[in-house]
């Protein structure tokens, strides 16, 4: 039977919108749908599970199941003593913990470091939570007041606080100091460099290009080397710059050059119409940049910026080259201690350091994702 094509049609009754169909039958259905529908997906799922198990099981075994939790010297972490296979040697970490966290900061003055950490956390956490008001004041306190207060707390020599040379700082303290300074310093400087590079004034543009290309053209190690060993030769007479300060300056300038290019990518992504609309409203260059262009540009390159931050955080390990003992540096020093030499000491140490680095980096990463989602006002819903 053949059907003739309909020539005309008029709808008699309009249908109301209905809710969409619910996903098929609960959790089990979902798993079956997503992971096991078809031969290929099922095979891939099984292979993935095997790989995960192959990696996760030995890790858990080493870190938790076979680990030694009590002890006071290397003997307690040897297989002969424990009479079984030995995993991580946590007493080693416990014994060296102070050094990992503070370096050789005098023990009786370590409360100052703790106070600085506490202040930092108290000021940072409200800044990160969107709902808490007073962000302007908070930002000024955290980026302006805290570094100064922190500096005086850690270095001392004021208000009766004993002077602690930066040469004895070490461990996670140094990692945090360098990372914080690098991050907080490189972002504004990077933004200015990026804006300068796009400037219409030839001198400004040339200076910015030269700066960026110079600092991107050399490895961070050479920057650190140069700052630490060569810079004093260029300084007049008796001028002495603190060793850690030299490193901080080098790191900030280096990171700013990278940040400048990341930000420039974001600036280039802003459509010309935004500039034109702002111009037509009479907003001058700085207001346009500050209110219209930068908020949009920075939002676009959050992944790039956070990437740079995470990179910077991990690059702090390079300061070992200039005899500054950050977390990893302290770790390597601890490995040399004969009192704790066992086959598992190295693994334990690196596992510990790795977990710390991972936690901080992953934390930054997730927070960035959270920020991106929150700022995504371009979505219609």
């Amino acid at each position: 039977m053949t059907m003739d094509a309909q020539r005309s049609y008029v709808r008699r009754a309009l249908t109301e919108p209905e809710p969409p169909p619910t996903a098929s039958s609960g959790a089990f259905g979902l798993i079956q749908q997503r992971l096991f529908d078809g031969v290929l997906n099922s095979t891939l799922t099984i292979i993935s599970l095997v790989i995960i198990a192959a990696i996760a099981w030995p890790t858990v075994k080493f870190l938790l199941i076979d680990a030694v939790w009590q002890g006071s010297s290397r003997v307690d972490c040897l297989p002969e003593t424990v009479k079984r296979e030995v995993g991580a040697c946590w007493p080693f970490i416990a014994a060296k913990f102070r050094q990992f966290m503070y370096g050789f900061y005098p023990q009786d003055q370590q409360w100052r470091v703790n106070l600085t950490y506490a202040l930092g956390v108290i000021l940072l956490v409200p800044l990160l939570i969107p709902r808490i008001p007073g962000k302007g004041l908070n930002a000024v306190l955290f980026f302006g007041v805290f570094p100064v207060v922190g500096f005086f707390l850690l270095v001392g020599d004021v208000l009766g606080l004993e002077h602690v040379e930066t040469a004895v700082w070490g461990g996670f303290l140094v990692t945090l100091v360098i990372s914080f300074t690098g991050i907080v310093g490189s972002l504004p400087l990077g933004i200015l460099l990026a804006l300068g590079r796009r400037s219409d004034l030839p001198i400004v543009r040339t200076l910015c290009v030269v700066f960026i290309e110079l600092w991107r053209g050399v490895p961070l190690i050479t920057v650190l080397f140069f700052a630490t060993y060569m810079l004093p030769l260029f300084l007049p007479g008796d001028w002495r710059i603190d060793g850690l300060l030299r490193v901080l300056i080098g790191v900030v300038l280096f990171a700013a050059a990278y940040m400048a290019e990341v930000v420039r990518g974001g600036l280039q992504a802003i459509p010309r119409g935004q500039y034109e609309a702002a111009m037509a409203l009479g907003l001058g260059y700085w207001r346009t940049t500050g209110f219209i262009i930068l908020p949009q540009a920075l939002k676009i390159v959050i992944p790039g910026i956070v990437n740079s931050f995470i990179s910077l955080f991990k690059d702090t390990t390079l300061v070992l080259i200039v005899a500054i003992f950050d977390l990893l540096g302290q770790l390597r020093a601890a490995f040399a201690d004969p009192n704790w030499a066992t086959p598992v000491t190295l693994f334990t140490g690196f596992a510990f350091a790795g977990m710390i680095y991972f936690l901080v980096s992953f934390g930054m990463s997730r927070y960035a994702l959270f920020t991106e989602r929150r700022l995504d006002t371009g979505r219609p819903n």
């Binding site: 459509p271 119409g273 609309a277 409203l281 009479g282 006002t377």
Partner: protein, 267 residues
């Protein structure tokens, strides 16, 4: 549809006291304006005088330089030869003059160019707050007033992406109006909209015209030109080919090119 007298002198109505007009009888004067994009001569010796309260519609084929001409008036484009004088202020490289002119000239774009990271209200209050240094409450009241004028007061706290095209364009008009400009420039503002939304935007523009705003409109909407314009200007290849009052322009085009153009768009 409002009755608009095309020959009106454009004095503001008594009951629309908010409209600011130029002190000068001549709102915009363009003298022998010439502009090149690289080697391409995009504007060739343009002469145009726009009086206070006049509504000028500029039409022409693509690439004729109409938008470029409009964008010269608030110096979004610069030029190599000629003069542009807006409300008695000559536009040169002097940044202060340029910013003064931009405060008095409002512009609405084809692509709306709303700021996507700000709400509708913030879009409108940004310039009054930071350029005219208005207090926040006054700026918000002003913004809500103009949003009501363009018939979308309820959208004030939404983001531009949540609005339709016609609504976005009306927000763009309100945003420009919040700076209380003396002259408004409209650059093909309905070209990116579908026909139903075109009407809502054109109605808004007609109301503005009725209130006595000096307007330069680049548009293909000939119905709007007939209704509202004091003069219609036809441009092609960077030159003004013909200029006349709408009735005369549409019924008795004098230049060959104008006739060709009109025959193609008025079917």
């Amino acid at each position: 549809m409002s009755e608009v007298d095309p020959t009106a002198t454009g004095r503001p109505r008594a009951d629309a006291p908010e409209m600011r007009t130029t002190q000068n009888p001549v709102a915009v004067e363009i003298v022998q304006l010439s502009k090149w994009f690289g080697a391409f001569h995009v504007l060739r010796d343009i002469d145009l005088k726009v009086m206070r309260g006049e509504r000028i519609v500029i039409c022409g084929p693509s690439g004729s330089g109409k938008s470029t001409l409009l964008r010269c008036i608030n110096r979004i484009e610069n030029w190599q030869r000629g003069r542009v004088i807006v409300d008695g202020m000559e536009l040169t490289d002097d940044l202060k003059k340029i910013e003064e002119v931009r405060r008095e000239v409002g512009m609405v774009f084809q692509q709306f160019n709303l700021f996507p990271h700000l709400t509708v209200l913030e879009n409108c209050t940004l310039a009054p707050l930071w350029v005219r240094k208005m207090p926040k409450k006054a700026a918000e009241a002003l913004a809500r007033n103009y949003l009501a004028r363009v018939r979308i007061p309820e959208q004030a706290d939404k983001y531009p992406a949540q609005l339709s095209g016609g609504q976005q364009q009306r927000v763009a008009i309100a945003r420009a109006l919040c700076m209380r400009p003396k002259i408004m420039l409209f650059d093909e503002v309905t070209s990116a909209l579908d026909p139903e939304m075109v009407k809502e935007v054109l109605d808004t523009m007609v109301e503005l015209a009725v209130d006595g705003m000096t307007m330069l409109v680049v548009s293909h909407e000939m119905g709007f030109a007939r209704q509202v314009a004091n003069r219609v200007v036809f441009m092609d290849a960077g030159q003004i080919i013909e200029m006349n009052e709408p009735e005369a322009f549409f019924s008795h085009p004098q230049h060959e090119r104008t006739r060709l153009f009109l025959s193609q768009i008025l079917r």
